[in-house]
């Protein structure tokens, strides 16, 4: 896929830490990634092949809200923030709108999911 590069991570390797500037997003191709809560350090999500991660912080131009660790040897497709900008700049208005609106819907859903 144009714009994406392959990145390999060894088991136990930290891809990014909570609080780091969000410079790239990933699509997991092989292996398993754990996302760790920034406060407790406990795993709150396990990602499998085909899942993307890190894109919300990249899209918002912010910092990581969680730490990502390779649970086993992993292969990812990596896209930098500049790469995402370049791809979106070539996309239609509707495509840009869909991409951003879906992430806004995910923010809303995450907020609703946290309500007990």
């Amino acid at each position: 896929m144009s714009g994406f590069t392959e990145a390999k991570f060894n088991a136990g390797e930290v891809l990014f830490k909570a609080g780091d500037p969000a410079k790239e997003l990933f699509i997991l191709q092989k292996g398993e990634i754990e996302l760790l809560d920034s406060g407790s350090g406990k795993a709150f999500a396990k990602l499998k092949a085909g899942e993307s991660f890190g894109e919300q912080a990249v899209l918002a131009g912010g910092v990581r809200s969680a730490t990502a660790v390779a649970k086993e040897d992993c292969v990812c497709l990596k896209l930098t923030a500049d790469g995402l900008t370049a791809i979106l700049s070539k996309e239609s208005t509707m495509s840009n709108l869909l991409f951003r609106a879906l992430h806004l819907q995910l923010f809303m859903q995450n907020a609703l999911s946290q309500v007990r």
Binding site: S92, M94, L98, L102, Q105
Partner: protein, 168 residues
């Protein structure tokens, strides 16, 4: 969020500072600097970027109007631009959502029914996302973005308790 929101609102973005970033490109360093200075949340940054690029039709709902009905087919997707809505599910869950709420988008694209019943509390203005245009656009979207969008939609629907088949 920058300003305190009513305690019973479960999701809303603060529109106060939109004028500060309006006119700036979301890809520019200036945009990033202003967002940092104003301490905008990630949701606010995405909403403002969205507002800046939106050329969508508006729809105004009166108090009590049903914007979406849980389990029914999705014909339109809405982004909340003004007002508050009551969001509920048959399992008894109830929420209150304001500006920035998005309803029916993941459901509409994935061809599953509305996850929530959404009712206008007062006068509500939404921007309507034309699902027919979105569907038409899907095959042309960059494959990498398509993968991320599919993953995002599955997370949204999973969070809302909607099961998804393999037809999408």
């Amino acid at each position: 969020m920058n300003n305190a929101q009513p305690s019973d609102v479960h999701f809303e973005v603060d529109y106060t500072y939109f004028s500060e970033v309006n006119g700036l490109s979301p890809d520019s360093i200036r945009w990033f600097e202003v967002c940092e200075r104003l301490n905008l949340s990630s949701a606010e940054r995405i909403f403002f970027a969205l507002c800046r690029s939106m050329e969508l039709d508006s729809h105004v709902f009166k108090p009590g109007d049903v914007i979406a009905s849980e389990g029914s087919e999705v014909y339109q997707s809405h982004i909340m631009m003004n007002g508050y809505v009551t969001v509920s599910q048959k399992n008894g869950k109830n929420f209150r959502v304001g500006i920035g709420g998005v309803f029916g988008l993941a459901e509409g694209v994935m061809d599953v029914p509305h996850a929530y019943t959404v009712i206008a509390e007062g006068m509500v203005t939404t921007s309507v996302i034309p699902l027919s245009k979105v569907q038409k656009e899907l095959p042309r979207i960059h494959k990498g973005l398509q993968g991320i969008e599919r993953c995002t939609m599955l997370r949204i629907l999973n969070g809302a308790g909607v099961s998804v088949g393999e037809k999408s």
